[in-house]
């Protein structure tokens, strides 16, 4: 067992805010004897404990890896600013919560990267651990630095920092990686050998084994393997059958966000909204049956004592047994004083029935709808078709069923969007408020949330530019003034705050230097917004002679090699192109469970498809 720093750490905990973030010791924590296993993982969520601990992916990997006798998996998070100061002052390297061992002593550091604004925190954590930021500068004794998560479908901006990425779902491939690592460690071979072997595992991307060339105009010429036996394209990994859901969740000792038990009832979405990254990269749709979910909730409640359960999916109403599931939840748990949440409901009457079923378990609370656009034309462009009549009927039903608070989510900055389309959002909100007032009275609460589109990789909108901040501001002003007059609460992202996300999500390898410069100049916790980091980022682009507008405001040619073209999500570029063209003429696609549009997912993974009795897939 390597040296642990408990006594030094305890001393500094007296001088930091919320020391409970750094002590671990939660109910259901798993502590294994260090010397009893061959491979030591530390799973790292690069934000503070309060933000990261509830992450379901982290919980799943923690249980899967620790279930293996040869593996130990501990956790670590980004220390908050006050703790970082203390760690640096006392020269204490960043440590894991379980054993308090230095991160440097682990074999594999697995970073979860759910969004891009977390990248500078990765560099900060590596620095606090005394590990070089650049993969090329790390030595034989350094841990393997592994990345995974939803942001990794375009890993290029952080390619230089990671030794390898998991592309896709981590449940099975993580164990594969651990096994390869274990054999390599026993054989006492070089780090270069390890990387080559990892690159042969389906779903593992080793960026240093690929070269990128550029055209004089800055666009990418090619992305090619520089070593024999390394695949040209990295096809994401999926789990054909969703594995047994974990139930022995860690129970945090301090208050965290999403402080509840989360159960993933379904993965993926068949609706094909064109702006939606998650909807494209998480295909095929797979679900857990109601018969499987109920015992998981029971075991989970008994093992954790949580008072709240979230039933998670991208589109809850599309679960084929959703009514049965909510009824069973009602029957089984009505006496348990629990509350249940069911996010992402579609705008249709059945959603109200679902919410009513759960409402009895939790009085109060509000209803949320996400029409995303306010005109039928605009909704056809984004492929979220909905008749106005159905929308207002659903709204009416919601109020008639006693809900007093309604949240509406819309997007602006969509392709072909006019000021009339934006004004329609305001008119819709006003009409919804009138309906609410008529049924509920003056106490009705309407809240409108406005997001501006960032065209994401692997979506039909990936070629589009981000709309200019001036135009977005103009649209926001129209809405802000109108909503204020109408007495409707509105929240929105300021255009600047989405810029960083658009650079980092749509960027290529050249951004690595920018990220490093930004971090060196103090950028961290970029996701928090409150720290005014944007100027640091602009300066970092300037220092490295890179034009940020190239990534944000440039419309990309349909034939251009995109930075993420070598990452294969199963959905083909041909399909995305056609969907983009359909979008511009307002042609929609129906739910692809009803008719297959050959997105490519069945060509890529159809041979793995299990019988429906084992795991339901949404594909026809």
């Amino acid at each position: 067992m390597p040296k642990e720093n408990s006594s030094l750490i305890e001393k500094i905990l007296y001088s930091v805010e919320k020391p409970g973030r750094y002590v671990g010791g939660e109910h259901n924590q798993i502590i294994k004897d260090w010397d009893s296993v061959d491979v030591h993982w530390c799973l790292i969520f690069p934000d503070i404990y309060d933000i990261g601990q509830a992450n379901l992916g982290l919980a799943m990997l923690y249980q899967i890896l620790n279930a293996d006798k040869s593996i130990l998996a501990e956790r670590s998070f980004a220390p908050w600013v006050d703790m970082e100061i203390e760690l640096r002052r006392h020269k204490i390297p960043l440590f894991s919560l379980e054993s308090k061992c230095d991160l440097k002593d682990f074999d594999i550091l697995g970073f979860t990267l759910p969004y891009e604004s977390i990248y500078t925190n990765v560099l900060n954590i590596l620095d606090l651990a005394g590990i070089s930021a650049l993969s090329s500068e790390r030595g034989e004794d350094d841990p393997l630095i592994l990345g995974g998560g939803q942001a990794c479908y375009n890993p290029e901006p952080v390619a230089s920092f990671f030794d390898a990425f998991v592309i896709g779902e981590g449940e099975e491939v993580s164990v594969d990686i651990s096994n390869v690592y274990q054999d390599w460690k026993k054989a006492n071979r070089s780090r270069a050998d390890l990387l080559l072997e990892l690159a042969r595992i389906p779903g593992v991307y080793v960026p240093s084994l690929y070269d990128v060339s550029y055209h004089p105009d800055g666009t990418i010429g090619s992305i090619t393997p520089n070593h024999p036996g390394v695949p040209e394209k990295i096809t994401k990994r999926i789990v054909a059958t969703l594995p047994t859901h974990p139930s022995k969740f860690l129970v945090p000792n301090i208050e965290i966000i999403h402080d509840r038990m989360s159960i993933e009832i379904m993965r993926g979405c068949t609706r094909g909204c064109r702006f939606c990254h998650a909807g494209m990269v998480n295909r095929p749709v797979r679900q857990r049956s109601a018969e499987e979910i109920i015992p998981v909730i029971k075991d989970g409640i008994n093992a954790t004592g949580f008072e709240e359960v979230g039933l998670l999916s991208l589109s809850s109403s599309d679960h084929t047994q959703i009514l049965e599931l909510t009824q069973k939840v009602h029957e089984n748990f009505q006496d348990r004083k629990l509350s249940f949440s069911l996010p992402s409901l579609r705008i249709e009457s059945v959603s109200i029935k679902l919410m009513d079923e759960l409402k009895e378990l939790k009085p109060g609370g509000g209803f949320t709808l996400a029409p995303e656009a306010a005109t039928e034309r605009m909704r056809a462009v984004i492929n979220k078709p909905l008749d106005d009549e159905d929308f207002y009927q659903t709204v009416t039903n919601i109020f008639e069923n006693g809900w007093r608070s309604l949240k509406l989510y819309y997007m602006i900055g969509l392709p072909t969007e006019s000021m009339e389309d934006v004004d329609a959002i305001l008119q819709a909100a006003i009409k919804v408020r009138q309906i609410g007032k008529r049924i509920i009275g003056n106490s009705v609460k309407i809240h409108v949330g406005i997001a501006s589109l960032i065209p994401k990789p692997h979506t039909p909108f990936q070629w589009l530019p981000v709309q200019s901040p001036q135009l977005i501001q103009e649209k926001l002003d129209l809405l802000k003034v109108g909503m204020r007059k109408a007495g409707i609460k509105m929240s929105y992202n300021i255009p600047d705050s989405t810029l960083l996300e658009s650079w980092l999500s749509r960027g290529d390898r050249r951004l690595g230097k920018v990220i490093q410069t930004a971090w060196e100049n103090g950028a961290k916790f970029d996701a928090w917004g409150e720290r005014d980091n944007l100027q640091i980022w602009r300066n970092a682009f300037r220092t490295n002679n890179i034009d940020p507008d190239f990534y944000a405001y440039r419309e990309r040619d349909l034939e251009e090699v995109l930075p993420w073209d070598h990452i294969d999500i199963g959905v083909t570029k041909r399909f995305l192109k056609r969907d983009y063209e359909w979008s511009l003429i307002g042609r929609t696609r129906e739910d692809c469970r009803n008719s297959c549009f050959a997105c490519g997912i069945l060509d890529a993974f159809g041979d793995q498809r299990p019988p429906e009795t084992i795991c339901y897939w949404g594909c026809p």
Partner: protein, 223 residues
């Protein structure tokens, strides 16, 4: 609602004395309260909830233990819907608690007793001073401090006189000549003294000490 669930109108009041140590000393008061709520739910005990619109567990901790202190004298009350053997309650609850919390006593008490919080008078603390501290010198400083007519301490921008709040003190030296300070301090809403405030006045860094609460004193407790 299911029919036929028996619910006694008179709740069963259970009083627990417990210790808190290890990593849990970095878990604050509200978090400790939630920790107990979840442990009670895991234990599967017939917990009494408050009635009304927003139901929550009836749980009453005697006193907030400051962050970083350990204790062998914490107390809390909770209520059950149905009577159960105290041994069974104790066993189930202990099993679902982290090992840094150990139940010392668990008993059923009378519903008519006043609340723990409302009847708390004082706390006893045992403070292990840093090894390098000279006991004699420390005692001298302490007595000088107590000889002052007032001991002003600034807490939340308000000055509090600690003089009447320090009820008892004594000093003990062990075989390794390590010094242990006993303090009995007032813990009422009108006067609540913290031992770390006193240590700071005596030029001792509280984070170098082990501060343990070893007793709670109430105005009217039975059992």
């Amino acid at each position: 609602m299911l029919l036929g669930v028996p619910m006694s109108d008179t709740p069963i009041r259970i009083r627990v004395r417990y210790s808190k140590a290890g990593n849990l000393r970095f878990i604050g008061h509200l978090d400790t309260q939630r920790l107990f709520e979840r442990a009670l739910r895991r234990a599967g005990l017939p917990i009494r909830y408050t009635q009304g619109f927003s139901k929550h567990m009836r749980l009453n901790l005697a006193s907030a233990l400051p962050l970083g202190f350990i204790s062998s004298a914490e107390m809390l009350d909770f209520w059950l819907d149905e009577p159960l053997a105290t041994e069974e309650i104790r066993e189930k609850l202990q099993e679902s608690l982290p090992s840094d919390i150990q139940i010392i006593d668990l008993d059923q008490v009378d519903n008519s007793l006043p609340s723990l919080q409302g009847s708390l008078l004082a706390s006893d603390y045992k403070i292990t001073l840093p090894e390098e501290k000279s006991c004699e010198e420390f005692l001298q400083k302490l007595e000088q401090l107590l000889a002052q007519s007032e001991i002003p301490i600034i807490r939340r921008k308000k000055t509090v006189d600690y003089k009447p709040l320090i009820l008892e003190y004594s000093l003990e030296v062990d075989a390794q000549t390590r010094c242990t300070l006993h303090l009995k301090l007032s813990s009422t809403p009108n006067g609540n003294a913290r031992p770390d405030d006193i240590l700071k006045l005596l030029d001792v860094d509280p984070t170098d000490c082990v501060i343990k609460r070893v007793g709670l004193f109430f105005s009217s407790l039975e059992g």
